[in-house]
Symmetry: C2
Subunit: 463 residues, 2 copies
């Protein structure tokens, strides 16, 4: 007897006799002589309605068919006379697979807070919202891989354990096999790798190895920040996507970022319509409008200098009050309030800001002719702010050496990175995007903990 | 002017005027009045032949167009009169992008040992062999994602940092933000997560969360072993694929493993033919035969007990000598020599061995009726040995509790794992496959360090 997933059953073109459906009970309504069961198996948001009549095999267990219980039902898929669904299953036999004691099963049919659900992260994907989130997460990951492969990029697994802190972004977790109680623990030479080891904060430097050999490449893997900050936008462990293109400049980079975002949003609109609708209805009423803008509008492009001028010209509201908490002047790092003003108020669409002051950007970004800005770019989207940050990389070995010296970095840490410029150096460019930021953008979910299967934050390491 | 990747140029259907090609010089032969350049840009194994005549723009740099240098050439794609290639480029102008000093560039045109190339892992993808390996790695990752998505599996990012060592496999790396020199370092309560943290050795337990909510799922991410063993088959960091199916038993699991391997091998045969041919020619003469067997033969299936009987019946060679170094008896863990005998000598095709003694398998594997074996299975392939290990999981909470007690594990560590059995428990099954094992299988490469972009092994943490 053929098992149909709920998604297959609901998408059927014809009635089907003699099928099996399996899943978890969302609700059951018992009437005299029969019962309605709403069955979900995680294959889609919708439940499948199952009707079982008193007296069929397994009916004796009907009292135990409660919310959260797992069952298997044999029967026929028939047109549903009721409103709201095209198909339903008429059961010919019912098997209870696993109970869910109504006294202790935490997911009774009522609305639970996101915070409560985080405390039962092992059960929350059984809810509509989190089931939808993690189906979207899966499909978004596929959309990322498909976009890059279709465009000729090779996927590179950049290393997770790294030997230096020269990646230049944030605090790092240390990785060790030494017993902290032992005196050897203080000497990294005794450690597994014979030197200090840490979890990566970015795969970019390794991606440059492969861009300068395979051509266009991307990484998509976990990255880590040991920042002790408990905000809705920070997690200690998250996934990053970092494309890197050889023979490419900053314009190529901006074009790639724009095409990439449009492609992923378009893919999800096509393949996750039902799940996305849940968020547009319950989580963020402006979600559809935001996604429309990303999909349909050309992204505005302004230099950092122009962006600062726009912000200065708008530093007062119409009523003469200060618009921004953080004052604006050339040279500052743009704050979220500035970024959101640009994309939401001024341009009302995604904006790419490029050519940032070198002093607020990383050493590897390509110095512009003016000597004071670098070929960096950030993509800002409404309601999210910065979603992508990238740059053309400094490919001139002498300029890169000067920058390393200027910033007081240790050139020895970069011997192999310099070799990429020493031998057959090429212009190249890339960007980084936090995968969870993308998921927050497409769902309207505002807490990063709610788009990660098992989130890791300060003092939280369960599941 | 349109840039063509080398792969696009070589696959062209027609001549194309006014194109640009960019890449790295593999070789140059200078003749009187012109030069042949073999150009590679990493998009494929083959080089593109470029002919430049004396006197074109940029000719003055021809002496610097040496092996490893990067160049850009404008010109026309025309039919090649020479043997060995259909197309070549007649350059109209040449731009040297980056030198590669012949005195110092390590990749001169000659054969280098794998060991030497590991010491320059940042340059080795510029060689034919490693370029091919990492293109195959990329395409194999895509084949994995495509197989699972086409079969309705959702992709889950299981956590990398884990709070317990209850995953049950091997030694773990500790993750910490404490200064080892500080007295607090000895108390995990002071640490970032408020408890001991480690790098995951398996995503399975988390995958079970999602199998018992979304249905069929898989993980594909990095995993870690802190084993101080310097063998060609072990790395401290490698990528694992772990599917997990709800409402599935051991037969479903074996079927999935067999279908999965055939699918990935078939995909690579189609999409990486040129790169695979390099390995069949230079690395492993029997590669094609091995892959044929995986693709075309039904995998043999024998119980562990049958396998032991076969081994016992063959414990002597025809000449009466001991065939195996490790003696065989019911209850032993099969050694590589036993596995290879079964798949290479006895069955001459892939073999699935199932129903192993419970004492040599993990606590979460489902106890069989006989009370002494568990519903585990390993897939063995010729020349590689074990490539997949999986099991049906124990879904009966009382049996699982007994197993945990029997093995002296701490039940508190498993509270959420038990909840998956407490509420709507379902039969489920899955397996794990080391991605690098798969790559070694399809390329014939015998050292795991050579299929990982930046390999991590004891005392080795460069790049």
């Amino acid at each position: 007897m053929k098992r149909l997933r709920v998604r297959q059953a609901l998408g059927s073109e014809t009635p089907v006799e003699s099928i099996v459906v399996k899943g978890w009970v969302r609700t059951k309504r018992e009437n005299k002589g029969f019962a309605f069961i709403e069955l979900n198996d995680g294959s889609c948001l919708s439940n499948l309605q199952v009707i079982v009549d008193e007296g069929i095999a397994g009916w004796e267990d009907i009292a135990r068919v409660t919310t959260g219980a797992s069952i298997s039902v044999e029967g026929n898929l028939v047109e549903s006379p009721g409103a709201g669904q095209k198909w339903e299953v008429h059961g010919t036999s019912l098997t209870l697979l696993g109970d869910a004691d109504p006294e202790t099963f935490p997911l009774q049919k009522k609305r639970h807070s996101d915070e409560f659900l985080r405390s039962i992260a092992h059960l929350r994907p059984r809810t509509n919202k989190f089931g939808a989130i993690f189906r979207i997460r899966s499909e978004a990951a596929y959309a990322v891989h498909k976009f890059f492969r279709d465009n000729g990029f090779a996927y590179v697994h950049s290393p997770i354990i790294t030997g230096s802190d020269c990646e230049g972004a944030g605090e790092m977790f240390r990785v060790t096999t030494l017993d902290p109680a032992s005196p050897e623990a203080c000497n990294p030479e005794n450690d597994f790798f014979g030197k200090s080891a840490a979890l990566t904060v970015s795969g970019q430097l390794a991606a440059e190895i492969f861009a300068t050999s395979l051509g266009d490449v991307y990484t998509f893997g976990p990255t880590f920040r040991a920042e002790n900050s408990n905000t809705p936008r920070h997690a200690a462990e998250f996934w990053m996507i970092e494309p890197e293109m050889a023979f490419a400049d900053l314009t190529d980079d901006m074009n790639l970022g724009e095409a990439f975002l449009k492609s992923v949003v378009g893919h999800l609109r096509t393949h996750c319509a039902e799940d996305l609708a849940l968020f547009a209805q319950w989580v963020d009423k402006e979600l559809d409008a935001t996604l429309d803008t990303i999909l349909n509008e050309d992204f505005a492009r302004v230099s950092y200098t122009e962006a600062v001028d726009i912000l200065l010209a708008n530093s007062k509201t119409k009523k003469g009050k200060d618009r921004f908490e953080y004052p604006v002047s050339w040279g500052i790092d743009l704050q979220t309030e500035h970024e959101r003003f640009l994309t939401e108020e001024h341009f009302k669409r995604p904006v790419i800001v490029y050519d940032y002051p070198k002093d607020i950007k990383a050493f590897y970004m390509r110095l512009n002719e003016d000597g004071k800005t670098v070929a960096a770019m950030d993509i800002l989207v409404p309601r999210v702010g910065e979603i992508i940050g990238g740059s053309q990389r400094e490919e001139r070995i002498d300029v890169l050496n000067s920058r390393i010296a200027e910033l007081g970095l240790n050139p020895d840490d970069y011997w192999w990175y310099m070799d990429l410029r020493r031998f057959g150096s090429v212009p190249h460019a890339g960007f980084g995007m936090g995968f969870e930021r993308l998921l927050m953008m497409v769902t309207g979910v505002t807490n990063i903990r709610d788009v990660i299967p098992c989130p890791r934050t300060p003092k939280h390491l369960e599941f």
